[in-house]
Amino acid sequence: MIFLFYLLSAIMIVCALLVVFSRNPINNVIYLILCFIAMAGHYILLNAQFLAVVHIIVYTGAIMVLFLFVIMLLNLNKAIIFRKSTVTRVSAVVTGGIFFLVLLAATRQTFEIHAKYPFNSDIGLVSGIGKALFGEFLLPFEISSILFISAMVGAMMFGKKDE
């Protein structure tokens, strides 16, 4: 189990880095898909099979494939070269690096989370999630429909041609 955890984590980190460093948009998307699949692996390790499946279906299957189509249809699959001055690059790298170190320092000294919610192995299953969504988190679940409908309206507005 521990071995799997480290393996999946390593895959995720490497893929995430490749997403950033790769210059071809199609490769970017594919690395991101790999990253998501590794994340789904983590869900399974936590006994959250339902979440893992949903994650793969939604993110990997729907969203990222759509991305891939768009990139191919618009013929964007050329390497992109960013022109940025050295100063910008160096300062960005330095800031990012320090940021990483600081966050690491902050979270490294974590502490025992008190056992208010003991680990419930059913929580990631369909029934557990369903109870949470339609129980305690009913309002957020319902109200997020407003979020989606406004996003849909936006997509329609931007997508439709004005005659």
């Binding site: 320092a105 309002l139 957020p140 407003i146 979020l147 936006g154 004005d162």
Partner: protein, 457 residues
């Protein structure tokens, strides 16, 4: 609670009204719906109850802010009657998106759970990203939309990360529980919790454009359609501050000393950066964006004073600020149209010559923004300063007063243009409804200054 449910459904109804292919019914219908929402909100006054596993709290604070935002939105919809006359498509969507954004704003005033705050901010933001890009043919509008979206997602990421860290430390999303959890450390918080809280504060700061997280606002204010800019400058700011106050004033204050100092630094920076940049602006919308940043600084000052009446002062401040801002945008859009699309300050030239009464009301409105007596803007600033002083924050108050005085300069600069004659006067047309709005808001700005209200919240 019924108000929240009603407005969420009502947005969809307005969307469907678009099928009627009759633009004339949209604004009256939308305003009618908002009035019903207002009635439903006021009905709950004084009850104070929690709903849905304590996800949201409907108390006097949230009702007062909701009603204030409803009034402002109604004014903006009235402005929209003429504004959208020339627009052919998607008018119903524009109204619906604003109502959706208002739904998000409602969540921001009444959350007691960080998840609800996050959803509120997102429901408010996504329609705004779309509205900012509402002028599809305009390059600047597209740019504004994209920039707002990109920077907004960035801040959302930080905000979510902050929530995750806080949850990781305290294993709860509920503000009261987080509050008691923090209290047990006596000010010496573990680093993870500190960073988490900081990220949450930064996420909210971004929404209300506190320096140094203000960079998006001038560009977006400038590029977005004027009506949307007015909406952002008023309703979004009010909602942001209501959320901020619920987070701090009713939740986390007194913060650990370091976090509080951080917020003081942001306050000072907002006042300074906003003012300095505004001094050099020649574009009216950018000028108002920077002035909004300065006003943010004043509101932060009120909030950080940690006085019991800070909520009431904030309500008053945001309301009178919004009342003064909307008619200024209305005047601006008509001047812009008469100047064939220019947005520089020079377009105000000749206003006094052609429409002296508009210039007089503009004087009142700008005086209110500048905080000069006898307008309500003065009373608002005055209350903020007395609050801060009464709690002993003297140095920062004096700094804020100095900044307020510097601010008078650029407001008067606009005014001076309005009272200057134009070399090539273009006819200025102001339709009756908009003229009435300018007059009503102008009078309200003065009356609210003479008879200041305090709502017990």
């Amino acid at each position: 609670m019924s108000a929240l449910i009603f407005i969420a459904i009502f947005g969809i109804i307005v969307l469907y009204l678009g099928f009627a292919n009759n633009k004339a019914i949209l604004a009256p219908a939308a305003i009618g719906g908002l009035l019903i929402t207002m009635a439903l909100s006021i009905k709950d006054w004084g009850v104070g109850s929690k709903y849905f596993h304590d996800m949201i709290v409907v108390d006097n604070f949230s009702i007062a802010f909701n009603v204030s935002m409803l009034i402002i939105t109604i004014l903006i919809f009235l402005f929209g009657v003429n504004y959208y006359k020339r627009m052919e498509h998607h008018v119903a969507e524009q109204y619906a998106l604003m109502i959706f954004a208002l739904t998000g704003a409602f969540l921001m005033t009444s959350y007691s759970n960080l998840i609800m705050l996050f959803l509120g901010i997102e429901i408010l933001s996504i329609p705004l990203y779309i509205l900012a890009g509402g002028k599809k043919s305009s390059y600047r509008s597209n740019e504004a939309s994209f920039k707002y979206f990109l920077l907004g997602s960035f801040s959302t990421a930080f905000f979510l990360f902050g929530i995750a860290l806080v949850y990781g430390a305290s294993s709860t999303f509920y503000l009261p529980e987080i509050n008691t959890y923090i209290a047990q450390f006596n000010g010496h918080l573990p680093p993870m919790l500190m960073v988490g809280l900081l990220f949450i504060l930064i996420g909210v700061s971004f929404k209300v454009a506190v320096a140094p997280f203000h960079f998006w606002s001038p560009d977006v204010y400038e590029g977005a359609p004027t009506l949307v800019t007015a909406f952002m400058a008023t309703v979004v700011k009010t909602a942001g501050f209501a959320a901020f106050y619920r987070l701090l004033g009713m939740g986390l204050l007194p913060l650990p000393a370091a976090l509080e100092k951080t917020l003081w630094v942001m306050t000072g920076l907002s006042l300074l950066v906003g003012n300095l940049a505004a001094l050099k602006q020649s574009n009216f919308k950018r000028l108002l964006a920077y002035s909004a940043i300065v006003h943010t600084g004043f509101m932060l000052l009120a909030m950080l004073s940690q006085h019991d009446s800070a909520g009431s002062v904030l309500l008053y401040y945001t309301f009178v600020y919004s009342l003064a801002t909307i008619p200024l945008f209305i005047i601006f859009i008509h001047m812009k149209r008469s100047a064939k699309g220019l947005e520089d300050l020079v377009i105000f030239r000749g206003l006094y010559k052609q429409k002296p009464w508009v210039a007089v009301f503009m004087t009142i409105l700008l005086m209110s923004l500048a905080g000069l007596p006898p307008t309500s803007g003065f009373m608002a600033k005055y209350q903020v300063f007395t609050l801060a002083i009464s709690q002993g924050y003297i140095a920062i108050t004096i700094f804020a007063i100095v900044m307020a005085i510097i601010g008078v300069y650029y407001y008067f600069y606009v005014l001076r243009e309005a009272f200057t004659d134009s070399d090539e006067p273009n006819p200025i047309l102001i339709p009756f409804l908009n003229a009435a709005l300018i007059v009503v808001c102008g009078i309200a700005v003065v009356l609210l200054g003479l008879f200041t209200f305090t709502i017990p919240i």
